[in-house]
Structures are given as structure tokens and as C-alpha cells.
């Protein structure tokens, strides 16, 4: 007997059609979708191995005020074939902002492969409390990671804290992250092992093993001799800082860190690290990227420290606007603000503002309700608004900061300790 499929199909189609406008409207109000594709040459060295290859790294991120989903990966072309280097996905869920405080839950899973012998999978989960106010943010968090197929035999307990602040076009960030985990140390074979929890805990008076070297030849994935292996609790603490600066077409990020911990857990090449990345935007969606630096070892994952360099192009696209980070931004960041007729009683507002997350306007034509502009490029924001001919008042706000009069239009005091722009829309 044939089932009547039409009603269900039609219902689905109608539902979808009716839902789409709402999704689009919702997206314009509070969502962001960001896609990036980087391609270029990369050079990586760790231990005695150096590797050069053509690399491709796509990433996509979708975020609303309540959650964010991100997926990224990279593939390298070696010996005329492509191989997967990194792949991962992450989900973040946010509570509403109450008095500047927000709870955030984070979960992720990823795979990293330095080469055929050095691969690691890990799942992470955690939460943090994030306080945000204008140009400043502070967070405290805790979480757990589970590395697979590597040195640690326990979950990795992570405690972290951080602070960020924005000064004009510069964002400064500092974090402290502490990792606590148990791994099996093979004192005779000079390495770490993966496996049985039946291995005894290392005696306090046991001769110290040499620092763990994570190069491929020294990492054993089988349990060492029972007499030489013991379980050891490890704690390492990373202090990291970064500065991100953006001016016109140039973005520069400089980061560095220092690791503290027992010499058994922290190899010499992981004590300090530093990196830099520069992007020069050639168009709104295309940038030339150069990056290089060093990364510390990841002892919980059995991955050694490495140095890297990369040169390539980045293609980025923001089909809908990005999310909200309440940061006050000076009006001087607004490179241009224009209004052009776009049909009967419609005006197209375009603004060029780089390095910001949200741009909103409000005015008498919106009954003074804020409306976000839609991101159309790296620094291009746009909105189509109904506006009749005549005199209108308008304010704009960047990253949730103060309401300002848009540059390029006459302004008067608003009577509320600010200024309001005055637009004259002529027939």
C-alpha cells in the first residue's frame, strides 16, 4: 500500500519556508558565521625532524549569543598525497549576561598529527565564569581533558584564569593554565608509557628519571618493564600572554609563554615559547598571512615542542554578522560612514570599521531600537533601513560601547550626555 507522502512533504516545505525568514532575521540580530580557508607553505620542525609541505587549513565558526560551534582542520601535501594533520570541533554554550557575568560551558574533541608516528586524540570539557565590562574581561575556569593513546593515564584536570582588555585597536590577553595529570614513567628506558593503572606509584626516594623527551624514538606505547615503570603525578603551569593589534589593513598578533613545572614534566625547549602572526588584508576577504614561532610540548598528549613557519593566503568570509563582545571602541576606528538611497524610502548604510565585533545603529527611524549592521567583509558593515525624506537623528554603537554620532554627519548634543547625528534625507 502506498503511503500518502504529500501532506508530510508539503508540511515540511511550508514549515521550512516560513522558518527561513525567521532564521535570517535571527541571524541578523545575534549570530555570526565566519568561514576561513588558509593555504600556503608550511615548515615544521620537532626534535630532529623537519618537514616542509603545502598546507590547506579550512575553518568555520557559527555563534549566537547563547552558543558557538567551531570546526577546523588542516591537511598537508607530502609525497604527492594529502594527509590530515589536524581536525577538531568545539561547542561553547553561554548563559545570559547578568551584571557582566556569564557562565560558559566548553566541550571539544580534536586530533593532532605531527607525523605518522606522533598522533594524538583528545576530548575536553570544562566551564568558566566570565566577567565582561566594556573594555575588560576576566575569567576563571576549570575542566578536564582525556588524551587518548598517549602518555597520560589519567584524565587531565585543568584550572585556568585569564584577563583581557582592549585599548583602541589593541587587545591584550593574559592567561594562567594549570594541568594536573598522572602518567607512567619508565625510569630505566627513559620514557613515558601508556597503559595500566596497576603500575605502582613512583616512590618518593626513587632516583629521578631524566626529563621526558617526546621525540618519536623515545615514546613507547607499550608498558615498560614492570620493575622500571611507575605512576607519577605531574603538574605544569603555563603563563601565556598575547597582544593583537590591528590598524587599517594590517593585523599583528604576538604571543609568548612560560611554563613552570618539575623538570621531569617540562623539557628545556618547552620552558619558553613565542610566536608571531601577521595578516595583511589585500581585499575585504583576502589576506596574505605570515606566521612563525615555537610551541611548547604537550606532555599530556605525548607531543613534543616544535618550531614552525608559514606563509600563505587566507580567504575569509562573514556572510552574517559576528557576535557581541561588549567593548567600547572609539569613534576614530570608523573609517567611513555613508548613507545612500536604495529605493523608495530605503537607505543603505555602509560603514568601514575594522577590528570590531558588532556595529549597531538606532534612531528615530527605528523608534530608537538598536539594529545591528550586517558584516559584509573584514571591515565592511551594511544595513538597509526604511527612512523617509526629512530630518532624522541617528546614533551608532560599536562593540556594545557608548552611543556616538556617526562620523561624517552633522551632530548635536542629545541632552543625555552624548551626541546624536542629524541626517537630512532629501527627495
Amino acid at each position: 500500500m502506498n503511503r500518502p507522502k504529500l501532506p508530510a512533504t508539503a508540511a515540511f516545505a511550508v514549515t521550512l519556508a516560513l522558518l527561513l525568514p525567521e532564521q535570517r532575521a535571527e541571524a541578523q540580530n545575534a549570530s555570526e558565521l565566519e568561514t576561513r580557508l588558509e593555504a600556503g607553505g608550511a615548515l615544521v620542525s620537532h626534535a630532529a625532524t623537519a618537514l616542509g609541505a603545502l598546507a590547506v587549513a579550512p575553518s568555520i565558526r557559527y555563534a549566537t549569543r547563547r552558543f558557538a560551534v567551531k570546526a577546523s582542520g588542516s591537511a598537508w601535501r607530502l609525497d604527492d598525497s594529502w594527509s590530515l594533520r589536524d581536525a577538531g570541533g568545539a561547542v561553547e554554550v553561554y548563559s545570559p549576561l547578568v551584571y557582566g557575568l556569564r557562565a560558559e560551558m566548553l566541550a571539544s574533541a580534536n586530533r593532532t598529527a605531527f607525523d605518522a608516528a606522533l598522533q594524538s586524540d583528545q576530548v575536553d570539557a570544562g566551564g568558566r565564569i566570565h566577567y565582561m565590562h566594556q573594555r575588560l574581561g576576566v575569567w576563571l575556569g576549570s575542566g578536564v581533558s582525556r588524551p587518548l593513546r598517549v602518555a597520560a593515564v589519567s584524565n587531565v584536570n585543568i584550572s585556568s584564569g585569564g584577563v583581557w582588555s582592549r585599548f583602541g585597536a589593541t587587545t591584550v590577553k593574559g592567561t594562567v593554565t594549570s594541568f594536573f595529570f598522572t602518567k607512567v614513567v619508565d625510569t630505566l628506558n627513559n620514557g613515558t608509557t601508556n597503559g595500566a593503572t596497576s603500575v605502582p606509584v613512583c616512590a618518593a626516594d626513587r632516583p629521578a628519571a631524566v626529563p621526558v623527551d617526546f621525540s618519536a624514538s623515545n615514546v613507547s606505547h607499550s608498558l615498560g618493564s614492570a620493575s622500571s615503570a611507575c605512576r607519577r603525578e605531574s603538574r605544569v603551569t603555563d603563563f601565556e600572554g598575547s597582544v593583537h593589534w590591528q590598524h587599517r589593513l594590517v593585523e599583528v598578533t604576538v604571543a609568548g609563554g612560560q611554563r613552570f613545572g618539575d623538570r621531569l614534566d617540562v623539557t628545556a625547549d618547552s620552558r619558553q615559547w613565542a610566536s608571531a602572526r601577521t595578516a595583511i588584508w589585500l581585499t575585504n576577504q583576502l589576506a596574505a598571512v605570515a606566521a612563525g614561532g615555537s610551541e611548547p610540548a604537550q606532555p599530556t598528549r605525548g607531543l613534543p615542542a616544535r618550531k614552525y613557519g608559514a606563509l600563505g593566503l587566507m580567504l575569509a568570509y562573514w556572510p552574517i554578522p559576528r557576535g557581541t563582545v561588549p567593548v567600547a571602541t572609539p569613534a576614530s576606528l570608523v573609517k567611513s560612514f555613508e548613507l545612500r538611497p536604495a529605493g523608495i524610502a530605503l537607505q543603505r548604510i555602509t560603514a568601514r570599521i575594522g577590528g570590531v565585533e558588532t556595529v549597531e545603529i538606532m534612531g528615530d527611524f527605528t523608534d530608537w531600537a538598536p539594529i545591528p549592521l550586517v558584516r559584509r567583509g573584514r571591515d565592511l558593515w551594511e544595513l538597509l533601513v526604511p527612512m523617509s525624506t526629512g530630518v532624522h537623528q541617528i546614533n551608532m554603537r560599536i562593540d556594545g560601547g557608548d552611543w556616538i554620532a556617526p562620523p561624517g554627519v552633522p551632530a548635536i548634543r542629545d541632552g543625555f550626555n552624548g551626541e546624536v547625528g542629524v541626517l537630512v534625507i532629501r527627495p
Binding site: L19, P21, V424
Partner: protein, 222 residues
């Protein structure tokens, strides 16, 4: 119809209703009762002022807009009422100064000029010489210039002279852009205006001098 189909239709109906309700909400930023965002006491005061404006034949939009602006900018109810009352007063004065033929936009622009300190007499001067031209843009530019620090008398007389010389809206907007640039680069606002005003071409015979009112200051011509 199978159970699954019925379930699908029911789900679709619920989603459809939700979507329609949501679409209505998101596609219409305007509230049906925007003043509901005010506290009760302030709302009452604002509604009284709106009624007064209606009775006086004044546009009510600027008053309502000022109230909503205050709400969105999180001003106190007391300050909002104060600003709405000020808007009402300046609208009334603007109509007296500009005459009953003034358009709503001219009234709004005139009220803005009065709020930055331009006098009714100065507005009247402009109005008397306007013939069939709209005063909106010159008044908006005048208000902005005073807000940016140009001395009131200098701004008023310069705009009046340009107006007399037949300057068009684009001339005023071009003047404003030039002055803004000069001020940003460090020039004294008054000097910037006088310098830039010299660059505005004369577009016709001067309009008739005002029969009364304070004579404008003279400024040098190139």
C-alpha cells in the same frame, strides 16, 4: 494518514505558528505602544506634553522620539521628561520664529538650533530671507557648528551671509565637512568656519536684508 504523518503535521503546525510569531516580532522593531517603555509617572508627563503639542498644532513625533531616545540611552524618567519638555518648548519657539509655513523638518531643525543657543531673532532673520528655499540643512549645519565649538555669533552670522548669497544645501554640507576636517586637524573652530566660508561660491544676488532683527556680523570676502 499514518501516525507519523499526523505527528509531522502537528509539529509543522507548531513550528509554523512559532515561525510566524517570531517573524512578526523580528521584522517589526517598532512597538505598538513605544511609550510603554517609560515608567508610569514619566509616561503621564510625556503624554500631557504630546497632548499640548497636538493642541498647539505642533508635530508630536520629535517629542515621542526624544522620549524613546532617552529610554534607549537609559536616562532617568525625570531627565527624559525634562528633555521632552525642552523639545516641546523649542518646537513652539521655532514655529514662532520660522512662521506657520515652516515644514515639520524645518521646525525640528530650528528647535535643534534653539537648543544649542541660537536665538529666535536669528532664526527669524533666516526665515525672512528664505523665499521658497528650505532652511533645514542650513539650520542643521548651524547647530552642528555651534556644537563643535564655533562661537555662536560667528556661526550664526556666517550661515546667514551664505544663505543671503544663495548658498545651496550642498554648499552648506561641503562647508560643514571642510570645517569638521579643519577642527580635527587642530584649527580653531571659529577660524576654520571663516576660512571655509570664503571658499563657498556666491550663487546669486543677495536676498533682501531683514527688515528688523540683529544685523549679521560682516566677514571678509576674498
Amino acid at each position: 494518514m499514518t501516525g507519523i504523518s499526523r505527528l509531522g503535521l502537528a509539529a509543522a503546525s507548531v513550528l509554523t505558528l512559532a515561525a510566524v510569531a517570531g517573524a512578526q516580532d523580528s521584522s517589526r522593531p517598532r512597538d505598538t505602544d513605544p511609550l510603554s517603555r517609560l515608567d508610569q509617572q514619566s509616561r503621564y508627563a510625556v503624554e500631557m506634553l504630546l497632548d499640548s503639542a497636538r493642541l498647539a498644532g505642533l508635530p508630536t513625533n520629535p517629542l515621542e522620539s526624544k522620549a524613546l531616545e532617552g529610554v534607549s540611552k537609559r536616562a532617568s524618567g525625570r531627565l527624559i521628561v525634562m528633555r521632552v519638555r525642552e523639545t516641546y518648548r523649542t518646537l513652539k519657539e521655532a514655529r514662532t520664529a520660522l512662521g506657520s509655513t515652516a515644514t515639520q523638518d524645518e521646525l525640528a531643525a530650528g528647535a535643534g538650533a534653539l537648543r544649542v543657543g541660537i536665538t529666535q531673532a536669528e532664526l527669524s532673520q533666516l526665515a525672512r530671507t528664505r523665499k521658497d528655499k528650505q532652511l533645514t540643512v542650513p539650520l542643521v549645519v548651524l547647530s552642528d557648528l555651534v556644537t563643535r565649538g564655533v562661537p555662536r555669533d560667528t556661526a550664526s552670522s556666517t550661515i546667514f551671509q551664505l544663505w543671503q548669497r544663495g548658498a545651496a544645501d550642498d554648499d552648506f554640507l561641503g562647508l560643514w565637512r571642510g570645517v569638521e576636517r579643519d577642527i580635527v586637524s587642530g584649527t580653531d573652530p571659529g577660524v576654520a568656519l571663516l576660512n571655509r566660508a570664503r571658499e563657498v561660491p556666491s550663487r546669486g544676488p543677495p536676498a533682501a536684508a531683514p527688515a528688523s532683527g540683529r544685523p549679521p556680523e560682516t566677514s571678509e570676502r576674498p
